[in-house]
Protein backbone atom coordinates (compact mmCIF):
# COMPACT_ATOMS: atom_id res chain seq x y z
CA UNK A 1 0.00 0.00 0.00
CA UNK A 2 1.23 3.41 -0.89
CA UNK A 3 -1.50 5.39 0.82
CA UNK A 4 -0.31 7.43 3.72
CA UNK A 5 -2.20 7.30 6.96
CA UNK A 6 -3.54 10.80 7.05
CA UNK A 7 -6.62 12.09 8.77
CA UNK A 8 -8.82 12.14 5.73
CA UNK A 9 -11.56 10.66 7.83
CA UNK A 10 -14.66 9.73 5.93
CA UNK A 11 -16.52 11.86 8.42
CA UNK A 12 -15.35 14.89 6.47
CA UNK A 13 -17.01 13.67 3.36
CA UNK A 14 -20.10 12.35 5.02
CA UNK A 15 -22.09 15.47 4.69
CA UNK A 16 -20.76 17.44 7.64
CA UNK A 17 -19.72 20.15 5.24
CA UNK A 18 -21.75 22.83 6.76
CA UNK A 19 -21.82 26.29 5.34
CA UNK A 20 -19.78 27.66 8.21
CA UNK A 21 -16.84 25.36 7.53
CA UNK A 22 -16.95 26.06 3.82
CA UNK A 23 -17.00 29.78 4.50
CA UNK A 24 -14.08 29.46 6.90
CA UNK A 25 -12.21 27.45 4.27
CA UNK A 26 -12.76 30.17 1.69
CA UNK A 27 -11.49 32.78 4.17
CA UNK A 28 -8.26 30.82 4.48
CA UNK A 29 -7.97 30.54 0.70
CA UNK A 30 -8.59 34.25 0.25
CA UNK A 31 -5.92 34.98 2.85
CA UNK A 32 -3.47 32.98 0.68
CA UNK A 33 -3.05 30.34 3.41
CA UNK A 34 -1.85 26.94 2.25
CA UNK A 35 -4.24 24.05 2.74
CA UNK A 36 -2.43 21.00 4.14
CA UNK A 37 -3.46 17.30 3.97
CA UNK A 38 -4.87 17.14 7.49
CA UNK A 39 -6.90 20.32 7.16
CA UNK A 40 -10.61 20.25 6.56
CA UNK A 41 -11.50 20.84 2.93
CA UNK A 42 -14.71 20.63 0.87
CA UNK A 43 -15.19 17.26 -0.81
CA UNK A 44 -15.30 18.97 -4.19
CA UNK A 45 -11.95 20.66 -3.53
CA UNK A 46 -10.44 17.27 -2.70
CA UNK A 47 -11.98 15.72 -5.80
CA UNK A 48 -10.87 18.51 -8.11
CA UNK A 49 -7.30 18.36 -6.84
CA UNK A 50 -7.14 14.58 -6.94
CA UNK A 51 -8.28 14.71 -10.54
CA UNK A 52 -5.86 17.46 -11.51
CA UNK A 53 -2.79 16.13 -9.69
CA UNK A 54 -3.32 12.55 -10.83
CA UNK A 55 -3.85 13.67 -14.44
CA UNK A 56 -0.66 15.62 -14.12
CA UNK A 57 1.12 12.51 -12.80
CA UNK A 58 -0.29 10.34 -15.60
CA UNK A 59 0.91 12.93 -18.12
CA UNK A 60 4.45 12.74 -16.78
CA UNK A 61 4.44 8.95 -17.05
CA UNK A 62 2.80 8.68 -20.48
CA UNK A 63 5.04 11.58 -21.51
CA UNK A 64 8.04 9.31 -21.02
CA UNK A 65 6.98 7.30 -24.08
CA UNK A 66 7.31 9.76 -26.99
CA UNK A 67 10.72 10.94 -25.80
CA UNK A 68 11.76 7.48 -24.67
CA UNK A 69 11.24 6.52 -28.30
CA UNK A 70 14.55 8.27 -29.08
CA UNK A 71 16.74 7.22 -26.16
CA UNK A 72 18.16 4.27 -28.08
CA UNK A 73 18.70 6.38 -31.20
CA UNK A 74 20.04 9.67 -29.83
CA UNK A 75 22.71 10.93 -32.24
CA UNK A 76 25.61 11.35 -29.80
CA UNK A 77 26.54 9.95 -26.40
CA UNK A 78 26.07 13.36 -24.80
CA UNK A 79 22.56 13.65 -26.26
CA UNK A 80 21.79 10.07 -25.24
CA UNK A 81 22.77 10.71 -21.63
CA UNK A 82 20.90 14.03 -21.53
CA UNK A 83 17.72 12.54 -22.98
CA UNK A 84 17.80 9.55 -20.68
CA UNK A 85 18.30 11.85 -17.69
CA UNK A 86 15.44 14.01 -18.90
CA UNK A 87 13.00 11.14 -19.29
CA UNK A 88 14.10 9.89 -15.89
CA UNK A 89 13.26 13.33 -14.47
CA UNK A 90 9.76 13.02 -15.92
CA UNK A 91 9.37 9.70 -14.13
CA UNK A 92 10.51 11.39 -10.93
CA UNK A 93 7.87 14.08 -11.44
CA UNK A 94 5.25 11.39 -11.87
CA UNK A 95 6.28 9.69 -8.63
CA UNK A 96 6.35 13.00 -6.80
CA UNK A 97 2.91 13.94 -8.07
CA UNK A 98 1.37 10.56 -7.24
CA UNK A 99 2.71 11.10 -3.72
CA UNK A 100 1.08 14.55 -3.64
CA UNK A 101 -2.21 13.02 -4.85
CA UNK A 102 -2.00 10.33 -2.18
CA UNK A 103 -2.09 13.01 0.52
CA UNK A 104 -5.69 13.55 -0.60
CA UNK A 105 -6.57 9.95 0.21
CA UNK A 106 -6.34 7.97 -3.05
CA UNK A 107 -3.61 5.36 -3.47
CA UNK A 108 -1.21 5.34 -6.37
CA UNK A 109 -2.58 1.95 -7.43
CA UNK A 110 -6.13 3.27 -7.63
CA UNK A 111 -5.02 6.28 -9.62
CA UNK A 112 -2.88 4.24 -12.01
CA UNK A 113 -5.65 1.68 -12.44
CA UNK A 114 -8.06 4.46 -13.40
CA UNK A 115 -5.61 5.65 -16.05
CA UNK A 116 -5.01 2.17 -17.43
CA UNK A 117 -8.75 1.59 -17.56
CA UNK A 118 -9.09 4.73 -19.68
CA UNK A 119 -11.11 6.50 -16.97
CA UNK A 120 -8.50 9.13 -16.16
CA UNK A 121 -6.95 11.46 -18.68
CA UNK A 122 -3.42 12.56 -19.43
CA UNK A 123 -2.23 15.47 -21.51
CA UNK A 124 -3.38 15.19 -25.12
CA UNK A 125 0.03 16.31 -26.40
CA UNK A 126 1.56 12.89 -25.75
CA UNK A 127 -0.73 11.32 -28.32
CA UNK A 128 1.41 12.71 -31.12
CA UNK A 129 4.37 10.76 -32.52
CA UNK A 130 8.08 11.63 -32.34
CA UNK A 131 9.20 10.99 -35.91
CA UNK A 132 12.61 12.64 -36.06
CA UNK A 133 15.33 13.78 -33.68
CA UNK A 134 14.05 17.34 -34.17
CA UNK A 135 10.87 16.27 -32.37
CA UNK A 136 12.96 15.74 -29.24
CA UNK A 137 14.24 19.31 -29.46
CA UNK A 138 10.74 20.60 -30.16
CA UNK A 139 9.18 18.76 -27.23
CA UNK A 140 11.76 20.22 -24.88
CA UNK A 141 11.39 23.70 -26.30
CA UNK A 142 7.61 23.89 -26.76
CA UNK A 143 5.95 21.12 -24.74
CA UNK A 144 8.09 21.72 -21.68
CA UNK A 145 7.86 25.45 -22.36
CA UNK A 146 4.07 25.25 -22.31
CA UNK A 147 4.16 23.04 -19.23
CA UNK A 148 6.25 25.64 -17.41
CA UNK A 149 3.80 28.37 -18.39
CA UNK A 150 1.02 26.26 -16.88
CA UNK A 151 2.95 25.18 -13.83
CA UNK A 152 4.67 28.34 -12.61
CA UNK A 153 1.35 29.69 -11.30
CA UNK A 154 0.71 26.29 -9.67
CA UNK A 155 3.70 26.92 -7.40
CA UNK A 156 1.28 29.29 -5.61
CA UNK A 157 -1.62 26.82 -5.70
CA UNK A 158 -3.64 26.78 -2.47
CA UNK A 159 -2.92 23.10 -1.82
CA UNK A 160 0.47 22.89 -0.09
CA UNK A 161 1.77 19.50 -1.32
CA UNK A 162 0.94 20.32 -4.95
CA UNK A 163 2.44 23.81 -4.74
CA UNK A 164 5.66 22.47 -3.25
CA UNK A 165 5.88 19.68 -5.82
CA UNK A 166 5.51 22.27 -8.58
CA UNK A 167 8.44 24.33 -7.32
CA UNK A 168 10.79 21.44 -7.83
CA UNK A 169 9.17 20.24 -11.04
CA UNK A 170 9.39 23.73 -12.58
CA UNK A 171 13.11 23.95 -11.88
CA UNK A 172 13.70 20.72 -13.78
CA UNK A 173 11.29 21.62 -16.59
CA UNK A 174 13.10 24.89 -17.07
CA UNK A 175 16.33 22.97 -17.55
CA UNK A 176 14.59 20.65 -20.02
CA UNK A 177 13.21 23.60 -21.93
CA UNK A 178 16.66 25.13 -22.36
CA UNK A 179 18.05 21.75 -23.35
CA UNK A 180 15.34 21.36 -26.01
CA UNK A 181 15.98 24.83 -27.32
CA UNK A 182 19.69 24.07 -27.53
CA UNK A 183 18.91 20.98 -29.65
CA UNK A 184 16.86 23.21 -31.96
CA UNK A 185 19.62 25.81 -32.11
CA UNK A 186 22.14 23.13 -33.07
CA UNK A 187 19.84 21.82 -35.82
CA UNK A 188 19.10 25.30 -37.12
CA UNK A 189 22.79 26.12 -37.30
CA UNK A 190 23.49 22.78 -38.96
CA UNK A 191 22.93 21.53 -42.50
CA UNK A 192 19.92 22.49 -44.63
CA UNK A 193 18.61 19.00 -44.04
CA UNK A 194 18.84 19.42 -40.28
CA UNK A 195 17.16 22.81 -40.37
CA UNK A 196 14.38 21.34 -42.49
CA UNK A 197 13.71 18.69 -39.84
CA UNK A 198 13.50 21.46 -37.23
CA UNK A 199 10.94 23.39 -39.31
CA UNK A 200 8.98 20.19 -39.99
CA UNK A 201 8.86 19.38 -36.29
CA UNK A 202 7.69 22.90 -35.43
CA UNK A 203 5.00 22.63 -38.10
CA UNK A 204 3.67 19.41 -36.61
CA UNK A 205 3.87 20.39 -32.93
CA UNK A 206 2.80 24.05 -32.93
CA UNK A 207 -0.96 23.66 -32.92
CA UNK A 208 -1.10 20.65 -30.59
CA UNK A 209 1.09 22.61 -28.15
CA UNK A 210 -1.32 25.56 -28.19
CA UNK A 211 -4.08 23.08 -27.38
CA UNK A 212 -2.17 22.01 -24.26
CA UNK A 213 -3.56 25.07 -22.45
CA UNK A 214 -7.03 23.61 -22.74
CA UNK A 215 -10.29 24.81 -24.29
CA UNK A 216 -10.96 28.51 -24.76
CA UNK A 217 -12.13 30.35 -21.63
CA UNK A 218 -15.66 30.65 -22.96
CA UNK A 219 -16.09 26.86 -22.89
CA UNK A 220 -13.84 25.76 -20.03
CA UNK A 221 -15.70 23.60 -17.51
CA UNK A 222 -13.50 23.73 -14.46
CA UNK A 223 -12.17 27.24 -14.37
CA UNK A 224 -14.63 29.05 -12.13
CA UNK A 225 -14.35 26.96 -8.98
CA UNK A 226 -10.65 26.32 -9.56
CA UNK A 227 -10.07 30.05 -9.69
CA UNK A 228 -12.12 30.66 -6.55
CA UNK A 229 -10.08 28.02 -4.73
CA UNK A 230 -6.85 29.50 -6.06
CA UNK A 231 -5.87 26.27 -7.74
CA UNK A 232 -5.89 28.12 -11.01
CA UNK A 233 -4.54 31.65 -11.17
CA UNK A 234 -4.75 32.44 -14.86
CA UNK A 235 -7.26 31.42 -17.50
CA UNK A 236 -6.42 29.04 -20.35
CA UNK A 237 -6.44 31.85 -22.89
CA UNK A 238 -4.26 34.11 -20.72
CA UNK A 239 -1.64 31.39 -20.36
CA UNK A 240 -1.81 30.52 -24.05
CA UNK A 241 -1.23 34.17 -24.98
CA UNK A 242 1.73 34.42 -22.59
CA UNK A 243 3.22 31.34 -24.17
CA UNK A 244 2.78 32.58 -27.72
CA UNK A 245 4.28 35.96 -26.84
CA UNK A 246 7.31 34.28 -25.28
CA UNK A 247 7.76 31.74 -28.07
CA UNK A 248 7.50 33.84 -31.24
CA UNK A 249 10.82 35.69 -30.64
CA UNK A 250 12.47 32.35 -29.82
CA UNK A 251 11.33 30.93 -33.16
CA UNK A 252 12.55 34.07 -34.91
CA UNK A 253 15.96 33.70 -33.29
CA UNK A 254 16.12 30.12 -34.60
CA UNK A 255 15.14 31.33 -38.05
CA UNK A 256 12.04 29.15 -38.04
CA UNK A 257 8.57 30.09 -39.20
CA UNK A 258 5.55 29.61 -36.96
CA UNK A 259 3.05 27.67 -39.10
CA UNK A 260 0.36 30.32 -38.77
CA UNK A 261 0.30 32.64 -41.80
CA UNK A 262 -2.44 34.69 -40.17
CA UNK A 263 -0.39 35.57 -37.10
CA UNK A 264 0.01 39.30 -36.45
CA UNK A 265 1.55 41.45 -33.74
CA UNK A 266 -0.84 44.02 -32.32
CA UNK A 267 -0.03 47.51 -31.10
CA UNK A 268 0.65 46.43 -27.50
CA UNK A 269 3.12 43.80 -28.65
CA UNK A 270 0.97 40.65 -28.34
CA UNK A 271 1.16 38.06 -31.08
CA UNK A 272 -2.36 37.22 -32.20
CA UNK A 273 -2.71 33.67 -33.47
CA UNK A 274 -5.34 32.26 -35.78
CA UNK A 275 -8.30 30.15 -34.75
CA UNK A 276 -7.35 26.83 -33.20
CA UNK A 277 -8.91 23.70 -34.67
CA UNK A 278 -10.74 22.44 -31.60
CA UNK A 279 -12.20 19.56 -33.55
CA UNK A 280 -8.76 17.99 -33.61
CA UNK A 281 -8.40 18.56 -29.86
CA UNK A 282 -11.73 16.89 -29.17
CA UNK A 283 -10.83 13.97 -31.40
CA UNK A 284 -7.51 13.44 -29.59
CA UNK A 285 -9.25 13.68 -26.19
CA UNK A 286 -11.80 11.16 -27.42
CA UNK A 287 -9.00 8.69 -28.08
CA UNK A 288 -8.53 9.30 -31.78
CA UNK A 289 -5.13 11.00 -31.79
CA UNK A 290 -2.35 9.37 -33.81
CA UNK A 291 -0.86 7.57 -30.79
CA UNK A 292 -3.59 7.22 -28.14
CA UNK A 293 -3.88 3.50 -28.64
CA UNK A 294 -0.12 2.96 -28.76
CA UNK A 295 0.46 4.95 -25.57
CA UNK A 296 -2.21 3.09 -23.63
CA UNK A 297 -1.03 -0.23 -25.01
CA UNK A 298 2.55 0.50 -23.94
CA UNK A 299 1.53 1.46 -20.40
CA UNK A 300 -0.81 -1.52 -20.06
CA UNK A 301 1.88 -3.86 -21.35
CA UNK A 302 4.47 -2.55 -18.89
CA UNK A 303 1.92 -2.86 -16.09
CA UNK A 304 0.79 -6.36 -17.03
CA UNK A 305 4.29 -7.71 -17.68
CA UNK A 306 5.52 -6.19 -14.44
CA UNK A 307 2.75 -7.73 -12.33
CA UNK A 308 4.78 -10.80 -11.36
CA UNK A 309 7.67 -8.55 -10.27
CA UNK A 310 5.45 -6.43 -8.03
CA UNK A 311 3.84 -9.57 -6.63
CA UNK A 312 7.29 -11.03 -5.91
CA UNK A 313 8.38 -7.85 -4.13
CA UNK A 314 5.21 -7.85 -2.03
CA UNK A 315 5.53 -11.57 -1.21
CA UNK A 316 9.15 -11.13 -0.20
CA UNK A 317 8.36 -8.13 1.98
CA UNK A 318 5.59 -10.09 3.70
CA UNK A 319 7.89 -13.08 4.31
CA UNK A 320 10.59 -10.86 5.70
CA UNK A 321 8.16 -9.09 8.02
CA UNK A 322 6.91 -12.47 9.22
CA UNK A 323 10.47 -13.67 9.92
CA UNK A 324 11.26 -10.50 11.81
CA UNK A 325 8.16 -10.91 13.92
CA UNK A 326 9.06 -14.54 14.59
CA UNK A 327 12.60 -13.57 15.53
CA UNK A 328 11.39 -10.86 17.86
CA UNK A 329 9.13 -13.38 19.58
CA UNK A 330 11.99 -15.80 20.26
Amino acid sequence: MYTQALNTAEADDRGLEDAARAAQFQVRIDAEERIEPNDWMPAAYRKTLTRQISQHAHSEIVGMLPEGNWITRAPTLRRKAALLAKVQDECGHGLYLYAAAETLGSSREELVDAMLAGKAKYSSIFNYPTLTWADIGTIGWLVDGAAIMNQIPLCRCSYGPYARAMIRVCKEESFHQRQGYEIMLTLCRGSDEQKATAQDALNRWWWPVLMMFGPPDATSQHSDTSTRWKIKRFSNDELRQKFVDATVPQAQYLGLTIPDPGMTQDADGHWRYSEIDWTEFKQVLAGNGPCNRDRMAARRKAHAEGAWVREAAAAYAAKRAQRQTAQAAE
Binding site: P75, T76, L84, A298, G306, W308, V309, E311, A312
Partner: protein
Protein backbone atom coordinates in the same frame (compact mmCIF):
# COMPACT_ATOMS: atom_id res chain seq x y z
CA UNK B 1 25.11 7.73 -48.15
CA UNK B 2 25.91 5.57 -45.16
CA UNK B 3 29.19 6.33 -43.46
CA UNK B 4 31.99 3.80 -43.67
CA UNK B 5 33.36 2.35 -40.48
CA UNK B 6 36.26 4.19 -38.92
CA UNK B 7 39.56 2.39 -38.58
CA UNK B 8 41.00 2.16 -35.10
CA UNK B 9 44.67 1.49 -34.42
CA UNK B 10 44.16 -0.94 -31.61
CA UNK B 11 47.31 -0.63 -29.57
CA UNK B 12 47.20 -2.60 -26.34
CA UNK B 13 46.03 0.41 -24.35
CA UNK B 14 43.46 1.51 -26.95
CA UNK B 15 42.04 -1.99 -27.14
CA UNK B 16 41.95 -2.25 -23.37
CA UNK B 17 39.98 0.99 -23.02
CA UNK B 18 37.68 0.12 -25.93
CA UNK B 19 36.76 -3.22 -24.42
CA UNK B 20 35.65 -1.64 -21.13
CA UNK B 21 33.98 1.27 -22.90
CA UNK B 22 32.00 -1.13 -25.10
CA UNK B 23 30.93 -3.15 -22.04
CA UNK B 24 29.63 -0.02 -20.37
CA UNK B 25 27.93 1.44 -23.44
CA UNK B 26 26.20 -1.75 -24.53
CA UNK B 27 24.96 -2.58 -21.06
CA UNK B 28 23.89 1.03 -20.52
CA UNK B 29 22.03 0.95 -23.83
CA UNK B 30 20.26 -2.27 -22.90
CA UNK B 31 19.16 -0.83 -19.56
CA UNK B 32 17.97 2.35 -21.23
CA UNK B 33 15.57 0.22 -23.29
CA UNK B 34 13.57 -0.26 -20.08
CA UNK B 35 12.94 3.45 -19.57
CA UNK B 36 9.18 3.94 -19.65
CA UNK B 37 8.44 0.21 -19.61
CA UNK B 38 9.66 -1.09 -16.23
CA UNK B 39 7.49 -3.07 -13.78
CA UNK B 40 7.26 -0.08 -11.42
CA UNK B 41 8.20 3.58 -11.61
CA UNK B 42 10.94 3.10 -9.02
CA UNK B 43 12.65 0.69 -11.42
CA UNK B 44 12.24 3.03 -14.38
CA UNK B 45 14.24 5.43 -12.22
CA UNK B 46 16.79 2.91 -10.95
CA UNK B 47 17.52 1.23 -14.29
CA UNK B 48 17.87 4.63 -15.96
CA UNK B 49 20.23 5.72 -13.21
CA UNK B 50 22.42 2.69 -13.71
CA UNK B 51 22.30 3.19 -17.47
CA UNK B 52 23.42 6.79 -17.00
CA UNK B 53 26.34 5.72 -14.83
CA UNK B 54 27.41 3.19 -17.44
CA UNK B 55 27.07 5.58 -20.36
CA UNK B 56 29.15 8.05 -18.34
CA UNK B 57 31.83 5.41 -17.82
CA UNK B 58 31.75 4.59 -21.53
CA UNK B 59 32.26 8.22 -22.47
CA UNK B 60 35.32 8.56 -20.27
CA UNK B 61 36.80 5.32 -21.56
CA UNK B 62 36.14 6.15 -25.23
CA UNK B 63 37.63 9.58 -24.76
CA UNK B 64 40.70 7.98 -23.22
CA UNK B 65 40.90 5.39 -25.99
CA UNK B 66 40.76 8.18 -28.58
CA UNK B 67 43.46 10.11 -26.75
CA UNK B 68 45.65 7.02 -26.46
CA UNK B 69 45.18 6.35 -30.16
CA UNK B 70 46.13 9.94 -30.99
CA UNK B 71 44.25 10.18 -34.31
CA UNK B 72 41.08 12.09 -35.05
CA UNK B 73 38.65 9.65 -33.45
CA UNK B 74 36.52 10.74 -30.51
CA UNK B 75 33.92 9.22 -28.20
CA UNK B 76 31.15 9.47 -30.78
CA UNK B 77 33.13 8.10 -33.70
CA UNK B 78 34.20 5.17 -31.55
CA UNK B 79 30.64 4.49 -30.42
CA UNK B 80 28.76 5.20 -33.63
CA UNK B 81 31.08 4.30 -36.48
CA UNK B 82 32.40 0.86 -35.63
CA UNK B 83 30.59 -2.21 -36.88
CA UNK B 84 29.73 -5.33 -34.96
CA UNK B 85 33.10 -6.99 -35.70
CA UNK B 86 34.92 -3.97 -34.29
CA UNK B 87 33.00 -4.00 -31.02
CA UNK B 88 34.91 -5.55 -28.12
CA UNK B 89 32.32 -5.97 -25.38
CA UNK B 90 31.52 -9.08 -23.38
CA UNK B 91 28.81 -11.30 -24.82
CA UNK B 92 27.00 -11.06 -21.48
CA UNK B 93 26.17 -7.36 -21.78
CA UNK B 94 24.70 -7.56 -25.29
CA UNK B 95 22.19 -10.26 -24.33
CA UNK B 96 18.61 -9.00 -24.72
CA UNK B 97 16.77 -7.68 -21.69
CA UNK B 98 14.34 -10.60 -21.69
CA UNK B 99 12.09 -10.37 -18.66
CA UNK B 100 12.95 -8.36 -15.56
CA UNK B 101 14.69 -11.40 -14.02
CA UNK B 102 16.97 -11.78 -17.00
CA UNK B 103 17.89 -8.09 -16.93
CA UNK B 104 18.63 -8.21 -13.21
CA UNK B 105 20.61 -11.45 -13.34
CA UNK B 106 22.71 -10.04 -16.19
CA UNK B 107 23.28 -6.92 -14.10
CA UNK B 108 24.07 -8.98 -11.01
CA UNK B 109 26.69 -11.11 -12.79
CA UNK B 110 28.27 -8.04 -14.36
CA UNK B 111 28.12 -5.68 -11.37
CA UNK B 112 29.50 -8.31 -8.98
CA UNK B 113 32.47 -8.48 -11.34
CA UNK B 114 32.73 -4.75 -12.13
CA UNK B 115 32.69 -3.82 -8.46
CA UNK B 116 35.73 -6.02 -7.76
CA UNK B 117 37.39 -5.15 -11.03
CA UNK B 118 37.25 -1.37 -10.72
CA UNK B 119 38.26 -1.49 -7.07
CA UNK B 120 41.36 -3.44 -8.05
CA UNK B 121 42.02 -1.12 -10.99
CA UNK B 122 42.26 1.86 -8.64
CA UNK B 123 45.89 0.80 -8.17
CA UNK B 124 46.64 0.95 -11.90
CA UNK B 125 49.88 2.74 -12.82
CA UNK B 126 47.90 4.51 -15.51
CA UNK B 127 46.53 7.48 -13.60
CA UNK B 128 43.61 8.06 -16.00
CA UNK B 129 42.46 4.46 -15.71
CA UNK B 130 42.93 4.61 -11.94
CA UNK B 131 40.73 7.72 -11.81
CA UNK B 132 38.04 6.17 -14.01
CA UNK B 133 38.22 3.06 -11.80
CA UNK B 134 37.72 5.10 -8.63
CA UNK B 135 34.53 6.65 -10.00
CA UNK B 136 33.27 3.43 -11.57
CA UNK B 137 33.86 1.44 -8.40
CA UNK B 138 31.56 3.68 -6.38
CA UNK B 139 28.87 3.36 -9.02
CA UNK B 140 29.30 -0.39 -9.41
CA UNK B 141 28.96 -0.91 -5.66
CA UNK B 142 25.50 0.67 -5.83
CA UNK B 143 24.59 -1.29 -8.97
CA UNK B 144 25.57 -4.51 -7.21
CA UNK B 145 23.51 -3.67 -4.14
CA UNK B 146 20.47 -2.90 -6.29
CA UNK B 147 20.83 -6.10 -8.32
CA UNK B 148 21.53 -8.27 -5.25
CA UNK B 149 18.43 -7.03 -3.49
CA UNK B 150 16.35 -7.90 -6.52
CA UNK B 151 17.89 -11.36 -6.89
CA UNK B 152 16.91 -12.05 -3.28
CA UNK B 153 13.42 -10.62 -3.74
CA UNK B 154 12.82 -12.62 -6.91
CA UNK B 155 14.37 -15.82 -5.59
CA UNK B 156 12.51 -15.64 -2.28
CA UNK B 157 9.34 -14.01 -3.65
CA UNK B 158 6.74 -16.12 -5.42
CA UNK B 159 7.05 -19.47 -7.20
CA UNK B 160 6.88 -17.65 -10.52
CA UNK B 161 9.59 -15.12 -9.68
CA UNK B 162 11.78 -17.91 -8.30
CA UNK B 163 11.41 -19.94 -11.50
CA UNK B 164 12.10 -16.91 -13.70
CA UNK B 165 15.19 -15.93 -11.70
CA UNK B 166 16.54 -19.49 -11.84
CA UNK B 167 15.89 -19.69 -15.58
CA UNK B 168 17.77 -16.42 -16.08
CA UNK B 169 20.74 -17.66 -14.05
CA UNK B 170 20.84 -20.89 -16.03
CA UNK B 171 20.56 -19.02 -19.32
CA UNK B 172 23.21 -16.38 -18.67
CA UNK B 173 25.74 -18.44 -16.77
CA UNK B 174 27.65 -19.47 -19.91
CA UNK B 175 28.44 -15.82 -20.63
CA UNK B 176 30.27 -15.20 -17.34
CA UNK B 177 33.55 -16.98 -18.10
CA UNK B 178 34.60 -14.34 -20.58
CA UNK B 179 34.91 -11.75 -17.82
CA UNK B 180 37.90 -13.58 -16.37
CA UNK B 181 39.71 -14.44 -19.59
CA UNK B 182 42.83 -12.55 -20.67
CA UNK B 183 44.61 -12.57 -24.03
CA UNK B 184 48.32 -12.05 -24.61
CA UNK B 185 48.06 -8.35 -25.20
CA UNK B 186 46.21 -7.76 -22.01
CA UNK B 187 48.67 -10.01 -20.19
CA UNK B 188 51.38 -7.52 -21.18
CA UNK B 189 49.37 -4.66 -19.67
CA UNK B 190 48.94 -6.71 -16.50
CA UNK B 191 52.71 -7.22 -16.28
CA UNK B 192 53.21 -3.50 -16.76
CA UNK B 193 50.89 -2.73 -13.84
CA UNK B 194 48.42 -0.94 -16.09
CA UNK B 195 45.70 -3.58 -15.95
CA UNK B 196 44.91 -6.17 -13.28
CA UNK B 197 44.40 -9.87 -13.83
CA UNK B 198 40.65 -10.56 -13.64
CA UNK B 199 41.31 -14.25 -12.98
CA UNK B 200 42.45 -13.26 -9.48
CA UNK B 201 38.93 -11.92 -8.80
CA UNK B 202 37.01 -15.05 -9.69
CA UNK B 203 37.06 -16.56 -6.20
CA UNK B 204 35.65 -13.45 -4.58
CA UNK B 205 33.14 -13.02 -7.40
CA UNK B 206 31.89 -16.56 -6.79
CA UNK B 207 31.62 -15.88 -3.08
CA UNK B 208 29.47 -12.80 -3.72
CA UNK B 209 27.29 -14.79 -6.08
CA UNK B 210 26.96 -17.76 -3.74
CA UNK B 211 26.00 -15.55 -0.80
CA UNK B 212 23.26 -13.74 -2.67
CA UNK B 213 22.01 -16.71 -4.65
CA UNK B 214 22.02 -18.79 -1.47
CA UNK B 215 19.95 -16.22 0.41
CA UNK B 216 17.56 -16.18 -2.54
CA UNK B 217 17.24 -20.01 -2.38
CA UNK B 218 18.51 -20.18 -5.97
CA UNK B 219 21.40 -22.27 -7.27
CA UNK B 220 24.37 -21.60 -9.53
CA UNK B 221 24.75 -24.02 -12.45
CA UNK B 222 27.38 -26.74 -12.33
CA UNK B 223 27.94 -26.43 -16.06
CA UNK B 224 31.32 -24.82 -16.72
CA UNK B 225 31.17 -24.56 -20.53
CA UNK B 226 31.67 -20.89 -21.31
CA UNK B 227 30.96 -18.87 -24.46
CA UNK B 228 33.81 -16.67 -25.66
CA UNK B 229 34.41 -14.25 -28.50
CA UNK B 230 33.12 -10.79 -27.61
CA UNK B 231 36.54 -9.39 -26.78
CA UNK B 232 37.71 -10.37 -30.29
CA UNK B 233 34.58 -9.07 -32.04
CA UNK B 234 32.82 -12.43 -32.43
CA UNK B 235 29.40 -11.57 -31.07
CA UNK B 236 25.94 -13.00 -30.75
CA UNK B 237 23.42 -12.03 -33.41
CA UNK B 238 21.84 -9.62 -30.96
CA UNK B 239 24.59 -7.01 -31.10
CA UNK B 240 24.11 -6.13 -34.77
CA UNK B 241 20.48 -5.16 -34.15
CA UNK B 242 21.42 -3.10 -31.13
CA UNK B 243 24.08 -1.25 -33.14
CA UNK B 244 21.80 -0.63 -36.10
CA UNK B 245 19.48 1.21 -33.73
CA UNK B 246 22.18 2.93 -31.68
CA UNK B 247 24.04 4.13 -34.77
CA UNK B 248 21.12 4.92 -37.07
CA UNK B 249 21.41 8.72 -36.89
CA UNK B 250 25.15 8.87 -37.45
CA UNK B 251 24.88 6.40 -40.32
CA UNK B 252 21.93 8.19 -41.95
CA UNK B 253 23.22 11.75 -41.56
CA UNK B 254 26.98 11.48 -41.90
CA UNK B 255 29.32 14.09 -40.53
CA UNK B 256 26.77 16.43 -38.98
CA UNK B 257 26.87 18.26 -35.66
CA UNK B 258 24.17 17.29 -33.21
Amino acid sequence: MPVANIQVSETLLVLYALRRADDALILGHRLSEWCGHAPMLEEDMALSNIALDLIGQARELYTYAAKAEGKDNDEDKLAYLRDVRQYRNLLLVEQPNGDFAQTLVRQFFYSAFADLYWRAMMTSRDTTLAAIAAKSEKESAYHLRHASEWIIRLGDGTDESHARAQAAIDHLWAFTGEMFAVDEGERALIHAGIAIDPATLRGRWLTTLSDVVGEAALVLPQNDWMQQGGRAGRHSEHLGHLLSELQSMQRTFPGQTW
